[in-house]
Symmetry: C2
Amino acid sequence: MKLRVTVMPKNGVLDPQGKAIQQALGGLGFSGVDDVRAGKVIILDVAETDPAKAKATAEDMARKLLANTVIESFSVEVA
Amino acid sequence: MKLRVTVMPKNGVLDPQGKAIQQALGGLGFSGVDDVRAGKVIILDVAETDPAKAKATAEDMARKLLANTVIESFSVEVA
């Protein structure tokens, strides 16, 4: 089963990567870009076939490794 | 309007970040992780209100900046 873990900076946390992308887009001539937030997406292919169990395990993986829960939030969905 | 650009390594391209995550998960005692692919997600908040135009512009941004189209593929969706 495949799961998608999306990890984004928490709202209110400075996102230097997003700011850098926003500036670079401006430099390339793209206008009208009000905000950019940059994060990670991790596709997990797991042997577990029960969606609820797989999701719970993926959330545990996110808390322990994939996300820095002090400054990042994460969401898990079946891909 | 918000758009989500997801950038992933192309199939067949080695994904060292994914491999590192997979090993680290094993080290933390998570078993049954068959594969891990790691990529980027970029949330663009743009002034454009027409979804088709906004999507076309975001695809152009992806080709020019957000993705290295030699080794990465991208998808754009309205967030």
